[in-house]
């Protein structure tokens, strides 16, 4: 048997980037399909729905809108801010300023947590109003809403002042399914990202961790990109009249 000598250059295959970076991008490609399928389903369902809750309609007197565009805007700014702190952490790591990088990672965690806290209050508001998959609002229940005894869940889908029907219980249920599925998976992805950031924050960072910051950052930016599309889809897009 003859032996064939190879140099490192001769046997090097694949894209000209580190394997771990290639793996992260490959993972993100699968994530595009994951969120793409859900976002595609949402667009198709909303386009096909006869009624849909507009983000600017008051559900019933004193109950506010189904989502708050101002809160959504502020939360988007918070998430975008966390993407800025990520690139600043990476820039600091490249300059081997590891304590500075650590500070920016800490800031990223705080901004990520702030985003999730706002989400918690938004979820609580909807659940309180019975707007969740299979919830009483989506079933047209005539039971009074807790804390608003003069209103029933069915009032959320009552006709407007002119007597025109705006919503149906099934459209509210469909909205709830889409909203909680998409924003819920997004929030879970954020939790995963925060856990990795927390690991980096707690360990003693060395210049060798620069790659970890870069790869975690790629994931974090992707999660940010998903939200950049979810924000107008849920908080801004008006219902077609």
């Amino acid at each position: 048997m003859s032996s064939i000598a190879h140099t490192a250059d001769e046997v090097e295959l694949g894209p000209p980037i580190p394997t771990a970076k290639f793996a992260i991008w490959l993972f993100l490609a699968t994530e595009v399909m994951f969120f793409g399928a859900f976002i595609g389903a949402y667009i198709v369902l909303r386009s096909g729905a006869g009624a849909w809750p507009d983000p600017h309609w008051e559900l019933a007197p004193g109950l506010g809108t189904i989502v708050d565009p101002i809160i959504g805007t502020l939360n988007t700014v918070v998430l975008l801010g966390s993407s800025v702190t990520v690139v600043l952490a990476h820039a600091a790591a490249l300059r081997q300023q590891m304590s500075r990088a650590r500070a920016f990672i800490g800031l990223t965690i705080l901004l990520g947590l702030a985003f999730l806290v706002v989400k918690y209050f938004e979820y609580s508001h909807k659940i309180h109003l019975g707007i969740y998959p299979g919830g009483p609002a989506g079933m047209g229940s005539t039971h009074p809403i807790h804390g608003h005894e003069n209103l029933t869940y069915a009032d959320l889908t009552a006709p407007d002042a002119a007597g025109n029907p705006r919503l149906t219980p099934s459209s509210l249920n469909l909205f709830a399914s889409c909203y909680f599925t998409l924003t819920g998976f997004h929030a879970l992805h954020m939790v995963g990202g925060i856990l990795v950031w927390a690991w980096l924050f707690l360990k003693k960072l060395t210049p060798a961790n620069e790659r970890h910051i870069e790869y975690t950052g790629l994931y974090w930016h992707f999660v940010d990109i998903v939200w950049i599309f979810l924000f107008p889809l849920f908080y801004l897009l008006p219902t077609r009249s």
């Binding site: 793409g36 399928a37 690139v87 930016h221 897009l237």
Partner: protein, 99 residues
């Protein structure tokens, strides 16, 4: 393997971050304050969202500075996503059967 880095500029990151925030506020204004037609609102808010995504991908994810390998990993899933959407839309969109 050699680990090449994108040129890093804190000033550039600050500018991109500011544009992203301004874009977000503008999208809110177009949807909430300016009473445009439905089509114009959709065009503006998703136009701004697409521009923001482009900025994040190009500068924060460094795709602007990466080699041609980036096309292999980013274009196929985008084609599949658009294909999925275009294949499903004629099925139920516009029928209003959930009303």
């Amino acid at each position: 393997m050699e680990h090449a880095h994108a040129p890093v500029s804190v000033k550039l990151y600050a500018v991109i971050g500011t544009i992203l925030v301004v874009g977000t506020v503008l999208a809110f204004v177009f949807a909430d304050a300016l009473h445009l037609s439905w089509g114009a609102t959709v065009l503006m808010i998703f136009g701004i969202a697409s521009f923001k995504v482009l900025l994040v991908a190009l500068y924060f994810m460094h795709l602007k500075f990466e080699g041609r390998w980036k096309y292999i990993l980013t274009i196929p899933p985008l084609i599949l996503f658009l294909g999925l959407l275009l294949a499903l839309l004629p099925d139920i969109a516009g029928l209003g059967r959930y009303g």
